[in-house]
């Protein structure tokens, strides 16, 4: 084998080990390039993130089933300042509860994601367990129909992948999904309507 300055000539046949090493190096560089590209893309895209406008949301149920995540990034959130702290919360209780207790058969939420806590007679606080909430909006419908509408859906950005084209937004019948600035990522309710 002829060596010139310790390097093989350009037209020298490459050994299998050298080929594999070069291949691995190329793949590593390609992977890093893709990761860097994704990071750049995400940081560029992160100027805006997806969010749901509660005023346009039709509570259709698509948020629970259309997200690319196995468990949707859309969660029910609660505007406590708007809530009536009702004893019979129609977001918590099924329309025809046996009694006003937290027994499973009395609850509206299919995953029991709403926690009911006694405050004082006859008021109760309702909070969302986001690990259980699937974003189905069943409670949102109940709260809006009879109550103040303090329960509503929002995309939680600790879960959302911020897809370039949000899978839920493509099917949203109310056109409620829109891009919002990353420094104001939530569209919160401050009044009953």
């Amino acid at each position: 084998m002829n060596l010139t300055n310790g390097q093989p000539p350009a037209n020298e046949p490459v050994s299998r080990r050298q080929f594999l090493r070069n291949g691995a190096r190329l793949m590593t560089m390609t992977g890093l390039g893709v990761a860097a590209g994704a990071l750049v893309s995400r940081s560029n895209g992160a100027a805006y993130v997806w969010q749901i406008d509660p005023a346009k949301c039709l509570h259709c149920g698509n948020c629970a089933t259309q997200c690319v995540l196995e468990q949707s990034a859309v969660k029910c959130v609660h505007a406590y300042a708007v809530c009536g702290y009702c004893q019979l919360c129609t977001g918590f209780f099924a329309p025809e509860p046996n009694e006003l207790t937290t027994a499973a058969e009395n609850q509206l939420c299919p995953t029991a994601a709403i926690k009911r806590t006694y405050v004082e007679d006859p008021y109760y606080q309702y909070s969302i367990d986001e690990n259980l909430c699937i974003g189905c909006a069943k409670c949102v419908q109940g709260c809006n129909r009879f109550g103040n509408g303090s329960l509503f859906l929002q995309i939680r950005h600790d879960r959302c992948l911020n897809c370039n084209e949000c899978a839920i937004s493509r099917t949203c019948p109310g056109q409620a999904f829109r891009r919002v600035p990353v420094d104001h990522p939530y569209l919160l309710k401050t009044t009953s309507r």
Partner: protein, 340 residues
């Protein structure tokens, strides 16, 4: 200091695994269901109250015999006077109408009329938001009673022989006046010593009537019941069940209005699922005057996409037992007669 790792015991571990599996299974099932049914055609998570919006015909004891529009917009309450004349609050007016809706005396008020009551001698008590104005039977203004509180929101009035009762939805109390406007007492305010739990009124619908048994009946919408009080404020009893089913009161806060038949049975009005029903004096559900299917516009006003504050109905009973229902969404009065 909080430990970095918290070990689950076996029971907690299985609990977490079961919950997670249930959630994932539910979502997967719903996704499959949605794919089968096609996007947008059905919501597997629909809040379905359709079964409560249709009334069993066997329960409907009344039929509509007349209907007429009201003369002004923004109707609120109605009452029936000693000669079966109908007094209607709408806008800044109280209109006196015949049983067929023919207009009579019209009283112009300084602000929106919130409630009205007519004494046996024909004296008209008009409740504005924070005070009461008094008119004689010909419509001449005779007195203005001072506001009990700047934040008062009067939503119900009842006139007896010696007393006038005003339900204040904001201050959560029924005020007892003498016929000259002097406050004699406050009824229903939360008082543990008197075993009075207090009114819960999430929306401005607190009503009061004088029952033939000599007690007051007041709706307590946040507790889904009707309460009986003495004129001195002692709570004598209560009844009502929170449920969307026909025998109970639906939503966060119902009933919104009450009246009484001559034999003492109670007529109740609900919003959300708009319906008018009759209960015995002790609270047993008896029959339906008009179900939710009778008020489609009113029901739509309280759908999950609309604001229920603008919905609602009121009822009053004449000497022949006809029930007059005011639909404040459509702005008309329906006359209901018991079926033969």
């Amino acid at each position: 200091m909080k430990p970095e790792f918290e070990l689950y015991d076996r029971r907690e571990f299985f609990g977490v695994v079961t919950k997670t599996a249930a959630v994932i299974g539910l979502v997967a099932g719903a996704k499959a269901s949605a794919e089968e049914q096609g996007q947008g055609t059905a919501n597997p998570f629909a809040y379905d109250i359709s079964r409560f919006q249709k009334t069993d015909p066997k329960l409907v004891a009344y039929e509509e015999v007349n209907r007429w529009p009201i003369p002004h917009k923004e109707a609120r309450r109605l009452a029936i006077g000693p000669n079966d004349q109908i007094y209607l609050c709408a806008g800044n007016f109280i209109n006196c109408l015949s049983q067929t809706g023919q207009p009579g005396v019209e009283l112009a008020l300084a602000g929106p009329a919130c409630c009205v009551a007519v004494a046996r001698d024909g004296t008209i008590y008009a409740g504005l938001r924070d005070h009461i104005e008094v008119f004689d039977s010909k419509g001449a203004k005779t007195a203005l009673w001072e506001s009990p509180d700047p934040k008062s929101w009067l939503t119900g009035l009842a006139a007896g022989e010696k007393d006038v009762f005003a339900a204040d939805a904001h201050k959560l109390v029924v005020l007892r006046y003498d016929r000259h406007g002097k406050i004699l007492g406050r009824i229903g305010h939360k008082n543990a010593e008197r075993n009075v739990p207090g009114f819960i009124v999430p929306s401005p619908f607190l009503d009061v009537i004088i029952h033939r048994d000599g007690l007051l009946r007041v709706n307590n919408p946040g507790r889904h019941r009707v309460e009986a009080y003495t004129f001195d404020g002692d709570l004598e009893g209560a009844w009502g069940k929170p449920t969307a089913a026909i025998e109970g009161f639906c939503g966060c806060c119902n009933p919104i209005a009450i009246t009484t038949l001559a034999d003492g049975r109670i007529v109740t009005c609900e919003k959300g699922i708009p319906r008018v029903k009759i209960y015995s004096a002790s609270g047993e559900f008896e029959s339906v005057v008009a179900g939710a299917e009778s008020f489609p516009e009113n029901a739509h006003a309280c759908s999950d996409l609309n604001d229920c504050i603008h919905g609602g109905i009121d009822a009053a009973v004449d000497s022949e037992g006809h029930i007059y229902i005011l639909d404040i969404v459509t702005g008309d009065v329906r006359v209901m007669k018991r079926k033969a």
